[in-house]
Amino acid sequence: MGGCALRLIGALGQPLLLMRHPGVALNLTGREEHTMPNRLSLLCVSGSREKMQMAAMVAATAGALGTEVIVFLSMNALGYFVRGEAPKAPAEGDMGRLMAEKNVPSFRHLFEQAKDLGGARLYACSMAMDLLGLEEGRLESCIEGPMGMTRFLSDASGGQILVF
């Protein structure tokens, strides 16, 4: 999943070597030190239960650790954030079905906690909004607003991008 982000970043001429191991820095003694990047940008596209859940967990936990988190919702992942609509996220496999049965916090709730407790910012892909014919007012209140791909990549630049 990281490969897609690498290709996107590569297309914009960003340094690929730095992006390959964004969580690893060399300290003065030459030992590898594992650090959280200051900014983590999540690109949510698949809309599957497992990927939405994982993205929400990452957003909430990274935010709680003080990392700046940006969540870009596009493709099949945007529909869960439209007012008045509550589509069920399809499971990819057994884990997704199991999560539906157990007391796992819902990804919507986790994204809201990521915003309220960790300062994560959620944006709706303007292209997906155009395709769906969505006005900004139809987005759930946890969404900051629409965002284009150029601004997302520009804001994400220098940090780490994860694709879900």
Partner: protein
Amino acid sequence: MVNEKIKVIDATGSFCPGPLMELIAQLKEAEIGEVLELLSSDKGSAQDVPVWINKVGHEMLGSEESGGVWHIRVRKLK
């Protein structure tokens, strides 16, 4: 401290990162110096919550398991 009031947060039955999120929400409301005890039945959270407490700079007071429930005590320092 005698008769120190401990606020208990029952997050048993919730899965990662639910217990951590509950703790963070309650810590926001708490006074500096206050002690909170998080109850979690999630083993991953029992390992993760102390990492978060140390990382953000609160005081980890202890973690004990009893009957499949972890009791994690933390003092709010800032």
